[in-house]
């Protein structure tokens, strides 16, 4: 794993994809829509934050399961650092979403289900950090927080399937708001959107890999473990 983290090809790929996102996201044609106008380009920068957050939280979940399975302290390190960067992306997604919502929906917080859902996901992972901070012993901390991570992750299932449908969403493809469905189907936008998701996720993994390698060397709790 350390070998893969040290390799640069995927970091160069991240840089390439993100440069493409900046250039293509600002210059390529986008659908002309009311209310949104040019802000529709936020889709390339705001939404990938959420995708990146969910992907990083999923990686964190996988390593928590692995920790309980084989008890390697380095798996715990992977779990916590991916969760930390997931939180970073999540907070950025929330802030950018509030800015965008303020301009297009009229206020930063509209009780929109997707917004609420992301806020809950953030609360869960902040609770995860607080739980970790309250346990001094490293192996005990790893075990207990892994259990919480797994339990909390699966308790978010209703968020994904139901709560968004409890009320009408202002986000696309949830009914209401016809104008917004258009960009869901726009192929031109997908050409930038998917690379953007990949680029931001890889950037997140890169940052977490830096912290993991740093702690493997300098953190006395981890520097005897190997990946």
């Amino acid at each position: 794993m350390v070998k893969l983290m040290q390799q640069s090809w995927w970091k160069l790929l991240a840089i390439f994809l993100l440069c493409y996102t900046v250039v293509g996201g600002l210059l390529f044609a986008v659908p002309r829509l009311n209310i949104l106008n040019e802000t529709i380009r936020n889709l390339y920068y705001h939404v990938p934050m959420w995708f990146g957050m969910i992907i990083l939280f999923t990686v964190s979940l996988v390593y928590s399961i692995l920790y309980l399975y084989r008890g390697k302290l380095s798996d715990d390190l992977m779990a916590v650092e991916t969760a930390n960067v997931g939180l970073l992306l999540g907070v950025l997604g929330l802030l950018t979403g509030m800015i965008w919502a303020n301009y297009t929906w009229g206020s930063p917080w509209n009780g929109d289900p997707k917004q609420n859902m992301s806020a809950i996901a953030l609360l869960i992972y902040f609770a995860y950090s607080i739980l970790r901070a309250s346990i001094p012993d490293p192996t005990k901390r790893a075990r207990i927080s892994a259990v919480y991570n797994i339990f909390a992750f699966f308790s978010m299932i209703p968020l994904l399937f139901v709560v968004p449908r409890l009320t009408d969403s202002l986000h696309p493809s949830n009914g209401g708001n016809n104008g917004f469905v258009v960009y869901d189907l726009d192929n031109q936008m997908r050409l930038v959107f998917y690379p953007a998701v990949m680029g931001f996720t890889l950037l997140g993994l890169w940052i977490s890999s830096l912290r993991i390698r740093l702690r493997l060397i300098f953190d006395p709790n981890y520097n005897h473990s190997s990946l």
Binding site: V147, I150, F151, V162, L166
Partner: protein, 220 residues
């Protein structure tokens, strides 16, 4: 399996006996409920049906968190170590979940009774409402029992950890319970069956996860 079942029955009897001997815990919870209801009554006096339901679930949420938080704290670490030599970890968590379900059912029903007396009851479909309360007690018990054991194992400041760890997890479940129980006032809407299915699914997944994960907490 018979061994597991026997151990569960033994543990539940033990918990019931303990509860009966130290009645102050149960009485404390009932006092907590009454005081909270009085606080709601004194601050609003009259409630719209939707707010009535929301307030009820908030009261039940706080009571449940307090009731379950103590489930792993009542007994000393030494005594828990003693149980460890006697029974399987799976029996411990399943018995706690079952016991907490019964405890919450009793407290919830008493709370609803007191709440209806003080603040009135706008419910139209009594049966549906009753089952929503039962489902609430089951959901709270399934969710909070493992979190309580996590908070208890974390050591120093359990009383603060319990709400921090459990509230984010319970929010989506509360939202489902609220929409299901509100149907007892306004009638079922198109989402009703769907929400009920997801809530039941969650109530299968969470105890199953507790069953799988608890041995990792218990082991030390």
């Amino acid at each position: 399996m018979p061994r597991l079942l026997k151990e569960i029955v033994w543990l539940i009897r033990k918990d019931l006996l303990l509860e009966w001997r130290q009645r102050y815990a149960l009485n404390g919870l009932l006092l907590y409920v009454s005081a909270t209801i009085m606080v709601v009554y004194m601050s609003v006096l009259q409630l719209k049906p939707a707010t009535w339901m929301a307030m009820l679930w908030i009261i039940l949420l706080f009571v449940s968190v307090n009731a379950i938080a103590k489930s792993f704290l009542q007994e000393s670490a030494a005594r828990q170590l003693y149980y460890y030599t006697l029974v399987q970890a799976e029996a411990v968590i399943l018995s706690k979940i079952l016991y907490n379900t019964v405890l919450l059912l009793v407290i919830s029903l008493l709370a609803v009774l007191a709440y209806s007396i003080v603040l009135g009851n706008p419910v139209q479909h009594k049966g549906l409402f009753f089952w929503a309360i039962v489902l609430g007690a089951v959901s709270f018990s399934n969710t909070f029992t493992l979190v309580a054991s996590i908070a208890a194992k974390a050591g120093s400041n359990q009383s603060m950890l319990m709400p921090i760890l459990s509230f984010p997890i319970i929010i989506p479940i509360i939202a489902l319970l609220l929409s299901i129980s509100t149907a007892s006032i306004t009638g079922k809407d198109s989402n009703f069956n769907n929400n009920l299915q997801v809530l039941l699914t969650i109530n299968i997944i969470l105890p199953a996860l507790s069953y799988i994960l608890f041995p990792y907490l218990w082991r030390e």
